[in-house]
Subunit: 202 residues, 2 copies
């Protein structure tokens, strides 16, 4: 089974990916693949070089270059795990690349939604080097994602979690969603994270 | 205040619109405006005529023709109500038309999400004349909406409600969301729907 995790920048995607990882399921980050490729090509890991490698990859492998790189990684991981998470899908076209490469695999899309105002506040306080400092920078970054077609992936999600609450409540929602997905698809956990730990988190 | 309600076909938009109406706030349906315009032009209300009038309106008033028609209706309604709901917005461009026409008005986007599989089942059993009967027809209709840019409106929503439950639970979620929106924006209800009715619904 493949779980595609999507959401706008700063929406809380990584919490979902981490919840699957905590339960023993590996993930592939589309962003990390481009960063790895940048290093492989002997370039320093700067924002400009990563963007340049992104463009070159598309010239070499076509529009869905990063998805194609991810397919290889996912294939490897599916040999050892019944479920693999893909983080950072930005278009239905990329989803189509995965569906084409894994015709016998169950593929579901999980989206997280957070309001623009809330995402802006979070990204501003996160302050990673590529995070927006002004509303204009934030809108520009959002627009870049929307142009890729991420809105379509969100609209067509099989599961949606809303992150309009405090961190503790969001963690609960993510845990309950992940448990539901595993149960609905008959996937057994790799790590037994539930036993004896419920009291800590609820 | 203006509340824009959006969501894919069959997601449960109308329940949100109706909850606002129940509390005394009027709504403008973009779809109804085109149907009214069809009748005004002396044409019979068929799917083909409505599509034809849609195209003609765009030729006459530009890409956001229906939003422009809606602006006039919303202006009228805002004279009598502190909140007006707009149903059926399909692109951020249309949202921009409303923001441009009402620069001093608070405008929020409310989206509802339902999984494609669930929407298909609902539309099939609803069986309105324009509802899909096969998965192919359903995908085609979805794609039409996505091409307008509805995914972007959903991704940029200020509020999101997930309709992945039974009807009773969804009604509760919608009621609680509408109450939250009114409270957060200091809007007083036109009708007192709460008093003495809580016990019926909770």
């Amino acid at each position: 089974m493949i779980v595609i995790v999507t959401g706008m920048p700063g929406s809380g995607k990584s919490k979902i990916v981490k919840e699957f990882e905590r339960r023993g399921f590996p993930s592939v980050s589309m962003g990390d693949l481009v960063r790895e490729e940048t290093v492989k090509r002997g370039l320093e890991l700067t924002k400009e070089n990563v963007a340049k490698v992104s463009i070159r990859l598309r010239q070499e492998l076509g529009q869905n270059a990063v998805a194609k790189l991810a397919v290889e990684r996912v294939k490897e991981l599916l040999k050892k795990s019944s479920l693999v998470v893909i983080d950072g899908v930005r278009s239905l076209d990329e989803v189509g690349t995965f569906r084409g490469a894994f015709p016998d695999e169950n593929i579901v899309i999980v989206a997280v939604h957070t309001s623009p105002r809330e995402r802006f506040e979070r990204l501003k306080s996160r302050g990673r080097h590529d995070d927006p400092r002004s509303w204009e920078e934030f809108e520009e970054r959002d627009w870049k994602e929307l142009k890729f077609g991420i809105g379509n992936v969100i609209a067509m999600a099989d599961y949606m979690v809303v992150n309009d609450c405090d961190k503790g409540e969001y963690r609960k929602r993510v845990r309950s969603l992940v448990k539901r997905i595993l149960a609905e698809h008959g996937i057994e956990e790799q790590h037994d994270v539930e036993s004896g730990k419920e009291s800590e988190c609820n």
